[in-house]
Each structure stands twice: as structure tokens, then as C-alpha cells.
């Protein structure tokens, strides 16, 4: 068994060898620096993406189901989806009455490409969403300021509006929009609330919405051919399966589907975004691993090369150590520690580089809020482990060769 003193001795030698050749050590470990840089940047970005995903499903509601003609996921056959009849307001109301397990069942409808005007400024392509008063209990009821409209306001088609975060920000970057009068597709509305920011990288659009009472919406855009969606709030994630099952049965009833017929609606939920995220993840991961692998490959060759040089340079030293009683494994260990220390040193530089770049990126783009302005510590841990393994791998052949040197030959070397 190798003594602990030998371990420290090896680490000390490795440290001295690196200090003695700083420039060489730096150049040698450049491949590792870049490799670690890619690993950490990839990890950081994926962490950000996961964060964004969590925020997204929270914004949509982890216990929410949305019955719609359209599918969010895109897994259903697009052409058959297009042929589906829109869900009518009547069907939505009927479904709401029949549902027993859900905490809330409410119809809502939306119109894309709405136009909002305030004091001569116009914002196009805003989604206008007609909702009912109970929507205050869904994620859009999570208001930054103001209030949601009441049932009375809904029933009486009052012209009040709750602005999405982006819309509010576009018109009123530095003041409250509450109490202002804005025109939506030409009609005057009183701003009574602003929704909290909900969107992230892939769901930015959900902040580009305004919410008005559904009766007002129907009055403006009609109900005949306009489809509505049914929002179903399960109350908790545990109840989701049960509620989804009932929703499906009741939706089939109100759509008059016969047994054997396929569903002509989709029950959308936040989890569907997982598909989109996982595709993006896969790309980032693939590119990251590709670049990392390439850098490590170059890095390993560099380290291996310098370790061969180091072994040759120190042939005499190896001879001396062997004469004094160093066993083969001690010599091997010494060079493995040296190559891993080199890599660890590279990892450390790579980490500093990442920290700098990450800080620069997040400072330059403060709006991209899903990117955290710090390097997650577990990535530093992973990077260290990876670099040590890479170091051992790169040092293996040179270290083995060093360990097998004949002491007589090595002592004679000048």
C-alpha cells in the first residue's frame, strides 16, 4: 500500500514541476481549458434552460389542462387536427356544468394579431384573450398590480382589460398603466391590472397577451366560427390524472363522439413543452459534447506529449528515485499526479474563463433572465472530476513508461 506521505510527495513534485514551467504548463493545458470551458458553458446553459422550463410550466400551471381543437405539442397529425371542428362556446359551457372533479372549468377564447393603441402609439400582433372572472384563480390571475375583473363586469360586457407583462412594458416602461384608457382593435378599454411576467425563452409570447371579459370578447369578435378553449384547473398535480380522465370523457360527450371514434380535441398541458425543451436540450448537448470531446482530444494529446517530454527530461531523477527505493507504482503515481494536476490547473483556468464570460453575457443581456449570472458549483465539481480523469488518461502511457525505466540505464542518463 502506498503511504499518504508518498501521495503528498507526488503532489508537491507535480506542483513544483508546473511552477517551474508556467508557460509550458499553460500552453499544454489549453486544450483542457477549452474543453472545460465548453463543459461548463453547456451545463450552465442547460441549467438555464431547465430553469426556464420550470418557470414555463409554472406560468402555464402545473395543474392546468387546456382543452382545445389545436395541439400544443405537435405530436398529433397536423392535417387531421386542422379538419377538427372548433369547440363552441356552448360546448364549453356544457362541459363546465358536467365536470365534477375539477376545481375550475372555464371557457376562454383568443384572437391573434390584435391591435392596441395608446395616444397614437400602436402595438400589433397582440393576442386578445377573452376569459371569465374565475380565471383569477389560474396563473394569469397572478397580478403584478391592479385587480382582476369581477363576474358582474364579465356578464355585463364591461370594457376593462388586464395587460400582459410585455404589453404593459411596451407602453408604460416606467409608470403604472392602471386607470389608463387604451384602444383594442379600435374600442376603448380601461386598464385595471397587469399580469406578472410569465414568459421565458420559449414561451415569450404568453406575455404578449391582453385579457378581457369573454362576453366583451364575443361581442367584438362573434362566436359563430370562433373556437374557444376550455381551461380546467385540477387543483393539484396529484389530481391531474383523474381530472384529465373526466375531462376526456365529458369532452367526448359534448362533442357527440361515438365509441370508437377518435378524439377531435386535444387536452393540452404544461408538460407538453417538455418536448420542445428536450429537443433544444439535445441540440445544446450535442454541440457541447462535440466541442468538448474535440477539445479534450486535443488536450489529451497535448498533455500526453508534454508528459513524454517530462519523463525524458527527468530520466535521471527517475533513476535516483528508484535507487533510493521508489517502486514502479510510486513513479507511475508521481507522473499521473503530475498530469492530473496539469489538467486540474487547466480546469481551474477554464472555470475562471467561464465565470468571466458568463458574467459578461449576463451583463450584456440582462433581459435574458433565464441565464443565471453565476456558475453553478456542481459544474465546478464535475469539471474537476472530469479533468482529473482526463489527466490520468493522458498520463497513463508516459507514466507507465517512466515506471518501467531500468534504474541502471536511468542513472546513467545525462
Amino acid at each position: 500500500m502506498m503511504g499518504i506521505s508518498e501521495y503528498f510527495e507526488s503532489a508537491r513534485i507535480a506542483y513544483q514541476a508546473i511552477i517551474a514551467n508556467k508557460t509550458r504548463a499553460f500552453l499544454t493545458s489549453l486544450g483542457i481549458v477549452i474543453g472545460i470551458f465548453f463543459v461548463i458553458m453547456m451545463g450552465w446553459f442547460l441549467d438555464g434552460l431547465d430553469n426556464a422550463f420550470d418557470k414555463t410550466i409554472n406560468a402555464i400551471g402545473t395543474d392546468m389542462l387546456y382543452v382545445d381543437k389545436w395541439s400544443w405539442g405537435g405530436s398529433d397529425d397536423w392535417r387531421s387536427v386542422q379538419k377538427r371542428k372548433p369547440i363552441s362556446y356552448q360546448q364549453a359551457l356544457e362541459a363546465s356544468k358536467k365536470m365534477t372533479t375539477a376545481e375550475l372549468v372555464a371557457p376562454h377564447a383568443s384572437k391573434w394579431g390584435g391591435k392596441i393603441t395608446y395616444q397614437g402609439n400602436t402595438l400589433g400582433s397582440v393576442s386578445i384573450v377573452g376569459v371569465t372572472a374565475p380565471f383569477v384563480n389560474t396563473p394569469i390571475g397572478n397580478l403584478k398590480e391592479g385587480r382582476f375583473f369581477s363576474e358582474t363586469e364579465d356578464v355585463h360586457s364591461v370594457e376593462v382589460v388586464i395587460l400582459g407583462y410585455k404589453v404593459a412594458n411596451a407602453f408604460f416602461p416606467d409608470r403604472s398603466p392602471l386607470g389608463e384608457i387604451m384602444r383594442i382593435n379600435g374600442r376603448k378599454f380601461l386598464v385595471i391590472g397587469v399580469v406578472n411576467k410569465r414568459g421565458t425563452i420559449i414561451t415569450d409570447f404568453i406575455d404578449n397577451q391582453v385579457f378581457i371579459p369573454i362576453q366583451t370578447f364575443m361581442g367584438m369578435f362573434g362566436t359563430a366560427r370562433r373556437g374557444v378553449q376550455i381551461a380546467v384547473k385540477a387543483g393539484s398535480q396529484e389530481l391531474l390524472d383523474e381530472v384529465r380522465e373526466e375531462t376526456r370523457v365529458i369532452a367526448r360527450q359534448v362533442r357527440n363522439l361515438q365509441p370508437g371514434e377518435e378524439d377531435d380535441f386535444t387536452i393540452n398541458e404544461s408538460q407538453m413543452f417538455r418536448d420542445e425543451i428536450s429537443t433544444l436540450r439535445l441540440y445544446v448537448w450535442g454541440i457541447g459534447i462535440g466541442l468538448t470531446g474535440l477539445s479534450f482530444f486535443v488536450g489529451i494529446i497535448g498533455i500526453m506529449n508534454i508528459m513524454f517530454v517530462s519523463v525524458t527530461e527527468r530520466t535521471k531523477e527517475i533513476g535516483i528515485r528508484k535507487a533510493l527505493g521508489a517502486k514502479n507504482r510510486s513513479i507511475m503515481w508521481q507522473f499521473l499526479v503530475e498530469s492530473s494536476t496539469l489538467c486540474l490547473f487547466g480546469a481551474f483556468i477554464g472555470f475562471l474563463l467561464c465565470a468571466t464570460v458568463i458574467f459578461a453575457i449576463t451583463s450584456a443581456f440582462p433581459d435574458v433572465d433565464f441565464l443565471t449570472p453565476y456558475v453553478p458549483l456542481h459544474l465546478l465539481f464535475i469539471a474537476s472530476i472530469v479533468s482529473i480523469i482526463v489527466g490520468i488518461f493522458a498520463g497513463l502511457i508516459p507514466a507507465y513508461r517512466a515506471s518501467r525505466l531500468d534504474p541502471v540505464e536511468a542513472l546513467r542518463y545525462e
Binding site: S5, E9, G325, N328, V408
Partner: protein, 238 residues
């Protein structure tokens, strides 16, 4: 085994060493038998090409013979593997080389500690023993100097301290004064004389008569054979 035999540290019987140099077989040692007892002061002499260096490498367990037996304190060294040999060298042999062979980047103290590192001695004890060894060669105030900050004589004394630090069975010195001026050489030889007086077994490997005459027994090697093995009737005192 009688008392006399218990005293034998090195027992070499009919040892030969051959090397393959391309198509040619080189007989570095043809047949050598040699016994060395505890607290002997012996010189192994021979001109270059005599097989003297090969003899030293085998005695020092840096190399194993092609033929014959070599018992080091009754352990058969001839059949040992690399690691077993390293262990013998570490515990039982103290080397002193012509070119000192100190590690340039390490301090005097670290150099002397090195054999103890490989012996697995803990740091405190290691430093204590290394310091004591340096003290015994008169270098206690040079512990933190690097080899290149020392004179040749001082470097060789560091090497001797390093050889002594494990309390080895033999001290094997290969041309220990070869790189020193004659005055310093004399000082080093005086040190070897003291080591012998303190009960150490000293083996000098040299081609210089001046050095060999300090020993009490002189073994001459020529053409891979022992030419003569004589007692030195009047060892030189310094």
C-alpha cells in the same frame, strides 16, 4: 548456522551477467563469488570495462545477475522482481554517487528525507531523522539550501546523509571523490572512515588507488572475474 555466517551481509556465489548488444553477447561478469561481512570497509577496484560497474549494480540491487545466487542478509536477491529490489534498496542500501545525484529542485532536507518518503515514514519523524543525518555530516545549518547553493563537498555530504538516513546495512559509494578536488576528497574519505568506526559497512567502488587504500580489504576485478581479494595491511588514516 554459526556466528561467522550470521555476520555475512552479502553472499555472492558464482554470479555472471551477460548483455545482448545486437548480435554480440557481452560477458560483463563471468563468474564472481564474494562475501562481505558486517562492518567491513572494502574497496572494489578495477579499470573501466573490467565489470566493476556491473558488479556495483548487482551488489546495489539495481540489477539482477543472469546466473548464480546473491543472498543479501539471507534473502535471495537474484530472483526478486522490481518492487522487491526497490524495497531492499530502500531499507538496506545507502548509495553515494560520483555525481551526487541530488534532486536539484528540492532542499537539502527534502533530499535527505526522500528515502524515508518511500519507506512510508510519517512527516514529523522523517524531518527529525533527516535533520539528525544532516547533523551527523555537519550540515545542520544548510537544511533549506538547494543543491546548487552548496559546494561539491557539501553536496556529497548531503548525499552521504541521504544514504545514512535509513540506517542501511551497507553504504555503497561509487567513485565518491571523483568529482571533488583532492582536499575535499580527503574530507569525504575521512567521513567514510568515521562511518566505518561507527559500525557501518562501507563498500567503495573506485579505480583510484589513493581512494582504495583507505579500505581494509581490496577486491580487484578484471575481465569480469575477481583478480585478487586481499586484506590491506595498513589502511590509510585521514
Amino acid at each position: 548456522m554459526n556466528n561467522m555466517n550470521n555476520d555475512i551481509i552479502i553472499n555472492i556465489e558464482d554470479v555472471a551477467k551477460t548483455y545482448q548488444m545486437g548480435a554480440e553477447t557481452v560477458h560483463a561478469l563471468r563468474s564472481v563469488s564474494l562475501q562481505i561481512r558486517k562492518n567491513e570497509y572494502i574497496a572494489i577496484m578495477g579499470p573501466s570495462g573490467s565489470g566493476k560497474s556491473t558488479m556495483m549494480n548487482i551488489v546495489g540491487c539495481l540489477d539482477t545477475p543472469t546466473k548464480g545466487t546473491y543472498l543479501f542478509e539471507n534473502e535471495n536477491v537474484a530472483t526478486m522482481n522490481d518492487n522487491e529490489l526497490a524495497d531492499i534498496r530502500n531499507r538496506k542500501i545507502g548509495f553515494v554517487f560520483q555525481t551526487f545525484n541530488l534532486l536539484a529542485r528540492a532542499s537539502t532536507l527534502k533530499n535527505v528525507e526522500l528515502p524515508l518518503v518511500y519507506a512510508g515514514v510519517k512527516k514529523d519523524e522523517r524531518q527529525q531523522r533527516a535533520f539528525a543525518a544532516l547533523e551527523s555530516v555537519g550540515l545542520q545549518d544548510r537544511t533549506h539550501h538547494k543543491p546548487n547553493e552548496l559546494s561539491g563537498g557539501q553536496r556529497q555530504r548531503v548525499a552521504i546523509a541521504r544514504a545514512l538516513v535509513t540506517k542501511p546495512s551497507i553504504i555503497l559509494a561509487d567513485e565518491p571523490t571523483g568529482n571533488l578536488d583532492s582536499k575535499t576528497g580527503v574530507e569525504i574519505m575521512r567521513l567514510f572512515g568515521e562511518l566505518w568506526k561507527n559500525g557501518n559497512t562501507v563498500i567503495l567502488v573506485t579505480h583510484e588507488e589513493d581512494i582504495a587504500r583507505h579500505a581494509h580489504r581490496i577486491v580487484r576485478i578484471r575481465d569480469g572475474m575477481i583478480e585478487s581479494d586481499t586484506i590491506n595491511p595498513s589502511p590509510a588514516e585521514v
